[in-house]
Assembly symmetry: C2
């Protein structure tokens, strides 16, 4: 990369890309210009750091690019918005192979288009460690934002998307299990490239509207805790609604606890929301609990033991596993 230089590499990354309709002016000027037909735009930003959020020996560059976009797109969708575009900043060591940067860019483009947008611009700088910063934009289409703060006592808590599989993949990779074993393929794929079920939120706009919505990035109990706190309510989760026999089978192979992955594993970027019991749950959503008076999150009425999710700088809660995240 040092040989090619910043400007030549940026040209190469951007060559032949087709911008989404919302991107009125793409890369190449001081700034990009995006449409905001709603007169507002949703925006979320996340930074991913090599060795903590991804590893080049565990994921391909394209996987890493997809994951970086997916987790930001999930945040935008979790507000009830359709992704429209992304800007990215990339810091790389000077000896980073050009193919790594190109692979990350390819993965970013693939996921950006899958989510409904494109990469409207970016920055490329020299750093000691590979660092990816993504900012995602979305359009609410005239609807209200779906925040974490609207849950009401009596609401049904429901989930769309997988839980615990990313944590299972992390356990496979960090535990030294045989990554070529087909039994681990789905867990590994889930960890490398989360698949937020964008359509299960976007395509139910205007009907089946939840009172509150968020994505599962820190872990189900942690994210429900944020939602409960923001809404001033308590949430009780039904453990029986969360069982996953296929995940149990993976856990048995690793002598691990699938329940812990489901309750505390982050990064699947499933969506979790709360609906009035008078509203039918949208297709693709499964009930997992109820909103009650009070505060905090319980599982079958009891405070959960063990880790409840991920927090930077502290590691994974009470279990304090130092696994690379």
């Amino acid at each position: 990369m040092r040989e090619l230089g910043e400007f030549a590499l940026i040209d190469r990354i951007n060559a032949g890309r087709e911008q989404a309709a919302h991107v009125l002016l793409g890369p190449g000027d001081d700034a990009a210009l995006l449409a905001a037909p709603d007169g507002r735009f949703v925006v979320s930003t996340d930074m991913l750091v090599e060795g903590r959020h991804f590893r080049l020996d565990w994921s391909t560059p394209a996987d890493i690019g997809r994951k970086a976009i997916a987790q930001n797109a999930a945040d935008v969708v979790a507000m009830g918005a359709r992704p429209t575009g992304f800007v990215v900043a990339l810091g790389c060591p000077g000896d980073t192979p050009v193919r790594v940067v190109e692979g990350i860019a390819d993965g970013m483009w693939l996921e950006a288009v899958r989510a409904g947008g494109s990469i409207a611009g970016g920055d490329l700088v020299h750093s000691e460690q590979l660092v990816i910063s993504v900012t995602a934009f979305g359009d609410l289409g005239g609807q209200g934002a779906l925040t974490r703060s609207g849950a009401v006592e009596g609401d049904i808590v429901a989930v769309a998307g997988e839980l615990g599989w990313s944590a299972a993949g992390l356990a496979v990779l960090s535990g030294g299990a045989d990554v070529s074993d087909p039994a681990f393929a789905h867990a590994l794929a889930a960890h490398r490239v989360p698949q937020p079920p964008y359509a299960e939120v976007i395509d139910v706009f205007g009907v089946h509207i939840p009172n509150a919505l968020t994505d599962v990035s820190d872990g189900l109990l942690a994210d429900l805790g944020h939602l409960a706190a923001a809404s001033g309510v308590a949430i009780d989760v039904h453990a029986a609604a969360l069982t996953d026999p296929e995940l149990d089978a993976v856990a048995a192979r690793l002598e691990a606890d699938a329940g812990q992955w489901i309750l505390a594993g982050g990064e699947d970027h499933a969506f979790v929301g709360t609906w009035s019991p008078a509203t039918a749950l949208p297709p693709g959503w499964r009930p997992i609990g109820v909103v009650t008076a009070g505060s905090g999150v319980t599982v079958d009425g009891a405070r959960p033991a063990g880790a409840t999710g991920w927090e930077s700088f502290r590691g994974a809660g009470a279990t304090a596993e130092p696994g690379e995240r």
Copy 2:
């Protein structure tokens, strides 16, 4: 920082802040929500890396925060837009003192408000090196974007803001000169906190409209080179219009070449644009050259010798000085 944890530190950074009018929903949910009254928004993103774009032994945390916001705000203003808001992602080593993070946040807020916006959201993660990623938003107020590609043969090239002072400050710091010498105070301040002349662009909206506009971030000749290439024209700069006796005095103290700082020094975030000769230059702008047919940038008709600007991964062009930027 490791002791306090991510969520507590984010709460502390956000406490007592007042969001700008354009920020409809600030930090605390999956994403922020900003107004885009124009139905479009301008967006720019930049990453700053410790040891390359700033040093904690050369600048205060607040200076670093201000600089990070200023350079992104300058990109938005260079499109002809008014800054409305910013999102920031911060990667820090676990042993970063909380006061450093708070200082960066304070500086960011100070400059964000100065530019007309506020910090609408962000991310805080663990990294080995201090890395700051800023994304800035702006509103065009119904006007067309001022790109780099609109310069026309015969246009007057004009500048608003200082040139070369940030490079002078860098020379003071990297050369081991006496930083307490009052003769260096302005250069040091310019390097630590660039002062893009936002008002000289924003307040002339609708009159004195340039054909092309950019900000000086890589160096005057380099940025004029980008503008000339995008517009398909050549630019000739008049050296006599760029002299700065005060900067000459600083250069003399360091046995350096003020002309080189002015032509090739980046990071002042002055603005440079081109106007039809039939349009009066706005207040605060000074003519420095002309747009001609052809390609490339000349100084008094000749190709400049020496470095012409900054490019990541390669260092400062032909002189290849490894100075920390």
